[in-house]
Symmetry: C2
Subunit: 421 residues, 2 copies
């Protein structure tokens, strides 16, 4: 599959040449990247766009400090969820008004599951993937525990026959476009179509695809989706989540966390809740102007990006890493769990190793190569085409070799497990 | 009731003397207050502590930009909800571990109502106040619409007999310690006790009391409470909400938005959700490090504050405003709706006027006196003892007189309604 299999031995010079020919190379300078760091964890939390520095400073020191309450209108904080939602719609193949930025991916998934259950009311089962980032399953379990008569069903890890879970009692299924561990990428279009024929609504979790590849929600016929913005989208640490609801479903159901920002007439201060007919119904309470600015700044940078080039470079970067790592992985017992097949690969690469996985990642971080570890044994490396170079990939593999050859992971300081998101 | 009723005519000199004698006067310099502005809307969104400028800049430019994903541990973003929760506990008379910062007040109220219903499971009614900030009722309605067999009952505006709503079918009641319009302050201790005897759980909404007066949750026997931090607590625009759950109720119920931050073992990535036994169960997803820093900075400033002095000054400021406004209000048809009785007055002062209320507030803002308007006819002015002086109050009333005498509110630009939070 790799684009490099015919090259006997890729050299550092080859990598430098690829960087010179990279049509996305100019974007790297738009990000602040600390000296001496190769950042392979932009899939967990994206790097900072330099423009975020003055923009967030302005929100704090001018809009908050001088504008005070007036900035909700004067700086138009009010419209930020819709403005950023529309920027996301442009990126993700949706219409304006089909995406809104609000709360977090967890909370938005809770809202969307409830919305879907109310819509698909004769069916009582929520399906999620056991191999998913666990929060998806937790939220599904939370909903089914809350609501009488509902239950969850999980698709076991390793199961290939997802069609078998499109049963008559299934109301909604939560699926990942790209798996957070393996990077396996599912065919959103084909499965959505199949699910619709069986009366199942799919909520797509775009956490590991939005910003990493072309996503075309309308063309794929997607009904419902959630995503987060602090990964490939570089919105900042804990920047808000988003919700996508296809226009065809607007007004057909209501999400249950009925805050005042979701009211049809927010400032009339009526006693009775009347849901907004727009996607603002998914908004709840007052949101962080700082955090939303971080996202808007980043989304404005994304406007200039051609996602076909992103995808092309993403596959080249991951190919290069997989190829350069092949002898290392073989020698040191790292099993590639990311598909080599381009058609089903996302933008990160993961290895499984029975022992010392966490310590190996820590030893790499000590050398300035930042990846992450996912229990119980996954070493994960994200490739963000906007700010990674082919030379970065080369350097990361050189460090990887050294960590393993020198057994640097056996040093005491790398062993103690510390939580990282 | 007023402290000034015996003074024939308060002068600007009197105000200046009171400022000189004010034991809280030194706090004003800790806030950025724009030149020429008298800010009487800190009850809606608090002013910016100067320390927030470098602190938030550091989160953006150092912790995010250089620390990257490592800052969740390295800068200990992870513990921020607990750290700030404990600072709030110290302020609000709770034990460490009884308050956690998370999400927004709307979402937290949703969680707490569900938590309370599950705990008090044989009762099926949620009671809220029609006079409440409407979001409280909206959330209650959202929960009752979501759950089969549940319903809402609202206490009508003007109702004095709240005891009558402690009926046998009532599981939970959402009450405001201080009403957002009138500033009427309810006796939290007495009513919580009465409710407990009748088997009703009370969720106190502290939005207009936390940071405005001494609040003593444990001493008042409070079981459950929510609050926001962007008002009197000065956490920043849309800074996060908080939840209080008395230790006696920990582990007795589960809130339903079961995100990964609420799991007993967050980084074990188990498929099954197991709720944390601590108040972390109320956490859901990844949160904004920027927004949480704004709050923590402000809470650290609050550590130095004596709330008895805050209450004393709050009453003096509101007394002064009410007294100075008395002839103005009488002449121009403004009806005071805030209690004159200190024992039931919060820290803002509101007037009702049939017509032009919105335009009057706009004309005041044009003169640099920022208050707000609440539909249908309430003009509201907040008094934040940390950064308002008695002279500010004097000046605000001078402007108020001028706006009314000159009919400045009839100018076209003040009439068009624009939403402000």
């Amino acid at each position: 599959m790799s684009q490099f299999v015919n090259i006997k031995k890729i050299t550092l010079e080859d990598c430098k040449s690829m960087d010179l020919a990279d049509p996305l190379s100019s974007f790297k300078s738009k990000f602040h990247l600390p000296e001496g760091i190769v950042y392979l964890d932009g899939n967990s939390m994206g790097a900072a766009p330099k423009q975020a520095f003055p923009d967030i400073k302005n929100v704090v020191e001018e809009e908050w400090a001088n504008g005070l309450i007036r900035s909700w209108v004067g700086a138009d904080w009010m419209s930020s969820p819709v403005r950023s939602g529309n920027l996301l719609a442009d990126m993700l193949g949706a219409k304006h008004g089909e995406i809104i930025v609000t709360d977090t991916i967890c909370i938005n998934l809770f809202k969307l599951i409830c919305f879907a259950l109310k819509f698909n009311e004769r069916r009582k089962v929520i399906v999620y993937e056991a191999c998913s980032f666990p929060a998806d399953g937790y939220i599904a379990q939370g909903v089914s525990n809350l609501l009488d008569g509902y239950s969850c069903r999980s698709i076991p890890e390793g199961e290939e026959d997802y069609d078998a879970y499109l049963q008559d009692d299934v109301a909604v299924m939560v699926l990942n476009q790209v798996n957070y561990k393996s990077a396996y990428m599912r065919d959103m279009k084909a499965f959505t179509q199949k699910a619709r024929e069986r009366g199942v609504l799919i909520i797509w979790d775009l956490a590991h695809s939005a910003g990493a590849m072309p996503v075309d929600l309308n063309a794929d016929g997607v009904d419902l989706a959630v995503g987060c913005t602090y990964k490939y989208l570089n919105g900042g640490p804990g920047s808000p989540g988003f919700v996508y609801v296809n226009k065809a479903l607007h007004g057909k159901s209501v999400q249950p966390i009925t805050g005042w920002f979701g009211h049809a007439n927010q400032f009339a201060f009526e006693e009775k809740y009347t849901p907004s007919k727009t996607l603002s119904q998914f908004q709840t309470g007052t949101f962080s102007a700082l955090s939303y600015q971080g996202l808007e700044t980043s989304l404005n940078l994304w406007r200039e990006v051609d996602f076909n080039l992103v995808r092309e470079k993403s596959l080249k970067l991951t190919d290069l890493f997989i190829d350069l790592m092949m002898p290392v992985a073989k020698k040191y017992g790292l099993t590639l769990i990311t598909p080599e097949d381009h058609s089903v690969r996302g933008s990160h690469v993961s290895y499984y190793r029975e022992d010392n996985g966490y310590a190996i990642v820590q030893a790499l971080i000590a050398r300035g190569v930042i990846g992450d570890f996912r229990a119980p044994g996954v070493l994960r490396f994200g490739f963000t085409p906007l700010y990674l170079s082919y030379e970065d990939v080369w350097q990361s593999v050189e460090h990887f070799k050294a960590v393993l050859e020198n057994k640097e992971y056996l040093q005491e300081e790398h062993k103690a497990f510390q939580a990282v998101t």
